[in-house]
């Protein structure tokens, strides 16, 4: 069980997505998941071992690290990736439900189970809203937990058992900051893609409804 599982799940989602949805899947695979696995994970690998405080007091380093990094950036990043990919499963489940219904009734109930209309449109729009909401929640969480997206070189720690105030040095702060900004940029791109897809679907179906009503009125 690893990221390959998420990749396979999302590949299934791709079939029932709009064009913008497919671009979103590509962005998530390549600029978020792949960058996470091949680059970002290694930067944060030894973050605790390389976190050094100017003190010999046992326990001080542990306590300071825990205070400044309640949840590590890399774990938050992984959670964000999982949470943001999951709403797409709603669409897969709904299509599977439609296909099951057709099998049960042994006749064609829908023009095509994967066509985005009716109930599936609502599910699709819900998944888009959830995805966007979760992206924003995680960005706000990152911002609040770490006072912006900066990673300082030094943090000053005065929690017991550290006597007085102690300087603690974070490893690779610049590299971590660069990748955090990359994470923020890709999150924002995904938010923009989701909002565009939402607007496109709402616009397309409003026009369809309006035209249907207009034709009915003319008849």
């Amino acid at each position: 069980m690893s990221w390959g599982f998420l990749r396979d799940l999302l590949s299934g989602v791709n079939k029932y997505s709009t064009g913008i949805g497919r671009i979103w899947v590509a962005v998530v695979f390549i600029f978020r998941l792949l960058v996470y696995v091949v680059a970002a994970e290694n930067i944060w690998k030894y973050e605790h071992d390389e976190f050094e405080c100017n003190i010999k007091q046992p326990g001080c380093e542990n306590v300071c690290f825990d205070h400044f990094f309640p949840v590590s950036h890399i774990r938050l990043w992984a959670l964000q990736l999982i949470m943001v990919s999951t709403p797409s499963l709603l669409v897969v489940f709904h299509v599977a439900y439609r296909e099951n219904r057709e099998k049960h009734h042994k006749r064609r109930l829908y023009r095509s189970p994967g066509d985005i209309d009716g109930g599936l449109l609502c599910t699709y729009l819900t998944s888009l809203i959830l995805k966007t909401g979760l992206e924003i929640v995680f960005l706000v969480l990152f911002y609040k937990l770490y006072n912006g997206f900066k990673v300082p070189r030094v943090v000053k720690c005065d929690i017991s058992p550290c006597p007085n105030t102690v300087d603690c040095f974070i490893s690779k702060p610049t590299e971590k900051m660069i990748f955090l900004y990359f994470l923020v940029a890709t999150s924002c791109l995904c938010i923009v893609l989701n909002l565009s897809e939402l607007s496109y679907l709402v616009f397309k179906h409003s026009i369809k409804c309006y035209l249907k009503r207009y034709i009915k009125r003319c008849q």
């Binding site: 690893s2 390549i30 680059a39 930067i43 490893s171 690779k172 590299e175």
Partner: protein
């Protein structure tokens, strides 16, 4: 999820590439991605652990390492490979869109052989020519940008044995020693050379495509 997934995606693009494009993909997979994974990652694996400074001052090593290596070579290469591979996806998306349109026409009643559609070799002309040429152009731009970033960040392509650091909290100027500088320089020059080869292949492909369209136009006009 790793480089294998990228390889699976790009392998699909291979079918619709020119011969030079296929050579470029092979060079990318074998001399860049594979070398990165099996060799370069090991060379840079212990870079901070074995970065040693001639001081006992806690924090000095961390700060000096961060000052001299704001972003590690290995991460820059990984990003370069991802960015350079991505434009090929534009072509894959265009081909997928063309196929999707043909399938839609088939569903709407036009007679198209499904088997022939699956195995059809898509020729690089019309809108696809523009997509393909744009993807090569973006590849060139990304390669050039990354090579410049490397040069600018590391003052050339050589890895020094010794760096002198006086960032706080290091007292005065401290000597810091980089681990495996010669091996790192060798790999940096190797990756640089292969980038150069890839740039040459992309330029050749671009010229070939432009010439192809020009000769076709000149054949049309009597």
């Amino acid at each position: 999820m790793d480089w294998g997934s990228l390889q699976a995606v790009l392998g699909g693009v291979n079918k619709h590439s020119t011969s030079i494009g296929k050579i470029w993909l092979t060079v990318l997979f074998i001399f860049r991605i594979m070398i990165l994974v099996v060799a370069a990652e090991r060379v840079w694996g212990d870079e901070q652990q074995d970065f040693v400074c001639n001081t006992l001052q806690p924090g000095c090593r961390n700060v000096c390492y961060d000052h001299f290596f704001p972003i590690s070579h290995i991460r820059l290469w990984a990003l370069q490979l991802i960015f350079v591979s991505t434009p090929a996806l534009l072509v894959a998306m265009h081909v997928a869109y063309t196929r999707h349109e043909k399938k839609r026409r088939f569903r709407n009643g036009e007679k198209i052989d499904i088997e022939e559609l699956k195995n059809e070799k898509i020729h690089i002309r019309g809108a696809l020519w523009w997509t393909y040429t744009s993807s090569i152009f973006f590849r060139l731009v990304f390669e050039a940008v990354f090579m410049y970033v490397f040069y600018y960040m590391y003052d050339g392509y050589q890895m020094p044995r010794l760096v002198k650091c006086d960032a706080w909290p290091c007292p005065n100027v401290v000597d810091c020693f980089v681990s495996r500088p010669t091996e790192k320089t060798t790999f940096t020059i190797f990756m640089l050379a292969v980038s150069g080869i890839c740039i040459t292949l992309n330029l050749a492909e671009l010229c070939y495509l432009v010439m192809k369209i020009c000769t076709k136009d000149s054949k049309k006009t009597p």
